[in-house]
Symmetry: C2
Subunit: 293 residues, 2 copies
Amino acid sequence: LRIALLGLGLIGGSIGLAARDRAKARVSGYDPDPAALARALELGAIDEACADAATALGDAQIAIVAAPVKALPSAVESALALTSKECVVSDVGSTKAPLAALGLDTRFIGGHPLAGAESAGIEHARADLFEGATWYLTPAPGTPATALERLGALIEELGATPLTIDPLEHDRLMACVSHLPHVFANVLVSQALAAASPPSAVGPSFRDATRVAGANPLLWTDIYLSNRAALAAAIEESLQRLREVRDALASADHDALARWHQSAERDRNRLLDGAIDPGDANRSGGQTGPQQG
Amino acid sequence: LRIALLGLGLIGGSIGLAARDRAKARVSGYDPDPAALARALELGAIDEACADAATALGDAQIAIVAAPVKALPSAVESALALTSKECVVSDVGSTKAPLAALGLDTRFIGGHPLAGAESAGIEHARADLFEGATWYLTPAPGTPATALERLGALIEELGATPLTIDPLEHDRLMACVSHLPHVFANVLVSQALAAASPPSAVGPSFRDATRVAGANPLLWTDIYLSNRAALAAAIEESLQRLREVRDALASADHDALARWHQSAERDRNRLLDGAIDPGDANRSGGQTGPQQG
């Protein structure tokens, strides 16, 4: 199996390590940052470091563009132009609708692994990053079955579970389970700092709740923007939910608050019971019993 | 040192264990639940299990009421009535203004240790629960210095750092760094479940952000209510902050989003740099360098 990787940060580098180690693939790579490219070769994430994208793409059977969301449209279009009719092209961007809207060649299948991004860069790449993770794929109506199968098989070899989803549905879901938590974390830290000057004690629950606050600023501004309609809608819904809590507090409505809090307990259990948790090494298909916080 | 503990759950039990182990205190205890009382004796959290509060209070020099916030006003008043003029009475409730508003005897000093409460009950009590934790104290203008010193010395022996604070200021602060994160976590899980049916994959960041969702429903409904004015005000401020993000998204204002996200990064670092972290065993007075998420 010949794989081309365009972009060798945390995700691209980890795909390379896992593809070489687990799928016994031959991996050629390119990154506009010469230091990242050299380091990827040194760490064994790629078999060959190429001077440009065209060389890396060469005779690849699968090409994965692991670039920031902002760079994806032109990078993916370029990858499609530079590869043969036999090559499947994919990406790993956090939003999928913007690429789907371009109406690209059916050889392109959008992808998004739900894998850690707290520490960016090739230095943090690991062969087991995708172990147990969900990897969303957004095939188009015209996507050839063989292309989807080839990409899905690689993803399984990397240790992840491929899951097809509609691109708009993916972005709406990510707005709620990924982008909105980042927005909330940002609001919490800024509001807490404004309230406590000088900064005072915070407990472990605050630390957990705000772990992702301000993460990777350059990357995240573009992620928010690339999903701005769905995220704005999710915030709008949150505003309504928060107004309801505020009103229950204002009227000291014990029963309404108790029902609301209990439904959150039930919702959390249902959500985590049903979820495939990429962070839980002991998961068994995500269908196990109640999980502890 | 003779200590009386009224209420032997996670916090009361842990005070007992630490007071006996570290402060070599003699601890008498009472809990309305006979099973909790017996278990506290069995686990070594108390020297003697008493049949009622009056017996436990006996000739105590420090009495600590570790009951749910709703039960505190009457329990604290009762403890003041049943103890001598030499006994300092305190509590461990999550809000401090409601008790301060009662204008109690100056022997009462409100208290609140910032220590874990994810797993409630005497079974989870630990002698090191308060190690490195901030323990807020809310003395009144007339509080005798000797009383504050005696209580503060015990708290230090338990491993915590006593920090005096105005009761209203305490509750405003807790609204932002504790109660609001719980509200946000509840909103996140309920909104995510509504968006994803059947529940789909969630990543580790979502899990962290919602760890406290729906925690201890009976306890938390009363905590929200006991701090309802400050919490409603904090939610109001959050609504404004969220509307600003929504508007920046709606107008695709890259610069505003970038500034907002970068300020969250800076605020988180300032907040955690300056904070005493009860969850970090390696802290050194909370004045160390940047902390990792």
